[in-house]
Symmetry: C2
Subunit: 398 residues, 2 copies
């Protein structure tokens, strides 16, 4: 059996570039940017008043002039109107383009206007209240670097620079396959010895954060059916995420089926709880199979601990730095497995993250996944963990 | 002019319940749950082995029996098979339903099977390796409380309990209206004195996090057109989010138009930068108008500081506790306005959030919105802020 660290290394070494594609900017939220966004012209593209008021030539002010006939009103979106002589002013609005003949703007609050004359008594500075052309960024300068998740702010910037088609990382084609004769659809009334399926929809929902629209398939514990479907899926998809069928049971066919189909085992079983029987492999075409044990908590843990980091690395999302939290209670671990405990996160008065562990009845007990926020990962080397100690966490309910 | 706190109080006092609706569980991710989810039967619904192996009656073990003929193989999804005499065992798989006639399970790793006989030498405990019916939750017990955002784990739980139609909070109907003659579409090649629009798509993108699909409209600075369209929209929508047209400019028609349409001003102008000219009002039917100033940074700040908290309160999402960060540089504020500064967040060695401020060229400079994560809110009462001091932050790029 390998360690959690070894499993992580093997899985991350299979990170893969799925290429890029161009999509409309208004569909790009949450996708991963695959090109730098650069300024198509200077920002701002013209000298613009930052207030509503009048524009004058500072020279006139230096000569003692404090009262100016208004030559014209310059609104936003119009060609700039020049001042013909330095004794004139232009009434000008925020967002308008200031003509080069004016160099200083005085806000309405500081002037009075009577009979077409604008006057003021305040002291002013040359160039005040003007946001100069190119002051924020120069044409061609990078505004947004590639390899980050596209946020609303990035969408807004793309819109501003007319970048209506954006290169984003292509997403892997994923199918989620659950197995188990006892699992019926959520629409069914299960018999006393059946359960409703949930792993498929849960995994699919987690992947939606990355805009991966995974397909879902359920298979009964029928050797030939499983073999036929995996054979089909390994051709049609980049990644198979499976749940169930990898343990010691008589009907746990997956490892054998995979081997027969040329899907090479990279590991089977990790020194961890939950999720010990996790099987991972790939075929010659680098198609990957993550085969998780069937219990909902095991699936959830393996997905967040291994599969999501693999996906983020494949999409070249800069690895979010590891997160740690302060344990809020003592935990004794009576076995030699790296233990992942469901915790509720909080913050203490120092502003540190805290993690309060929740008692559960093993990996079949999914009833706490909704009211906890993370797994805390307790190192294999120890069996005794004390309140106040700090360990790594893996968040799930963000 | 009112303070930030007064503005917040006024806006939050207008939080409104938009009712609830039922949607399919697999469409509910990210919506707000409007009912408790309860266990439709005991969890687990039957006694289930947590390992693959054999099931025996402990009584037999007490009598010294260590070798048992295998009566049958019990797989998951089948009706439970009873043991007829205490000298027998059942070979049983994880997830199967254990019959009441057996009470203890021994895993394959601890037994040997020869000629239909299962034998073991290990010590066992009565009831081991069984996840008892109702051990996690009893039928009718609450699994997930109402008034939280639906996560993948909640979708999974809903699936498990057959809750295929879920009550969620209804979302307000929102339209985003931008104004300004200088603003052209992102598809256009702007003239030297025009800009491409971005506020509409930015606001729309932020609201998508809440699954609000807001409409977008752009209006030129034409008094009659603006009046006609606002009159239409205030009937058709619950909320109007506007940008531009609320300042001192000659073409800043919104406050007047709103008044003429019976939309009562609740405030105009806040002691803050950016976003000072923010106008907020409502009509007799409690339709709301958030009219932000037109600069992208002002819009972004007002949206996250006021509008999103209003939306979260309206949807009854439990208020996320305020977040604070340690300032990483000194800031001098040469004006008497509550100052919101764009910051990059990090963490220090104590695990505290840190906030490094970014120098910008005022509220027209949107070039940093993509590489910062939050606004830090610097209190109105001070002008001098020092490295190491802790202030409240408002995150935007999560």
């Amino acid at each position: 059996m390998i360690t959690v660290q070894q499993a992580e290394d093997i899985i991350l070494s299979q990170a893969k570039d799925f290429g890029k594609e161009y999509i409309a900017y208004d569909q790009a939220l949450g996708r991963v940017l695959a090109e730098d966004l650069t300024a198509d012209r200077d920002l701002p593209p013209f000298d613009r008043p930052t207030v509503d008021g009048i524009a004058i030539r500072y020279n006139a002010y230096e000569k003692g002039i404090r009262s100016f006939p208004i030559k014209a009103v310059q609104s936003a979106g119009e060609p700039p109107i020049p001042i013909d002589t330095e004794t004139e002013c232009i009434e000008i609005m925020t967002g308008a383009a200031l003509d080069r003949s004016a160099d200083t703007v005085i806000r309405y609050e500081d002037i009075s206007i009577n009979n077409g004359m604008a006057s003021f008594t305040v002291d002013i500075k040359k160039g005040q209240n003007i946001h100069l052309k190119g002051r924020d960024k120069k044409e061609g300068e990078i505004l947004v670097k590639a390899h980050q998740v596209i946020t609303p702010a990035i969408i807004g910037i793309a819109s501003s620079i007319g970048k209506t088609s954006i290169a984003v990382k292509k997403l892997p084609k994923i199918i989620i396959i659950s197995t188990g004769d006892e699992m019926v659809s959520p629409e069914s009334i299960p018999s006393a010895y059946q359960l409703r399926r949930s792993n498929g929809i849960t995994i699919q929902s987690v992947l939606k954060k990355y805009h991966v629209e995974a397909d879902i398939l359920h298979l009964n514990d029928d050797y030939e059916e499983i073999k036929k479907e995996i054979s089909r899926c390994i051709h049609e998809y980049d990644v198979l995420l499976m749940s169930g069928g990898v343990s010691m049971g008589k009907f746990d066919y997956l490892p054998q089926v995979c081997e027969e189909l040329g899907i090479k085992k990279l590991f089977h079983k990790i020194k961890q709880r939950p999720g010990k029987p996790f099987w991972f492999g790939k075929n010659n075409a680098d198609k990957l199979v993550f085969a998780f044990p069937g219990n909902p908590v095991s699936v959830f843990m393996c997905l967040h601990r291994y599969c999501i980091p693999w996906l983020e690395k494949s999409l070249e999302i800069p690895g979010s730095s590891p997160q740690f939290a302060v344990l809020q209670n003592d935990i004794e671990v009576p076995f030699s497995l790296q233990y992942f405990v469901q915790v509720k996160l909080g913050t203490n008065q120092l502003g540190q993250l805290t993690a309060e562990s929740v008692y559960t009845n093993g990996s079949g007990d999914f009833s706490h996944l909704a009211d906890t926020n993370a797994f805390i990962e307790l190192p294999l080397e120890q069996n005794s963990f004390k309140k106040g100690e700090v360990y790594r966490i893996w968040k799930y309910n963000d």
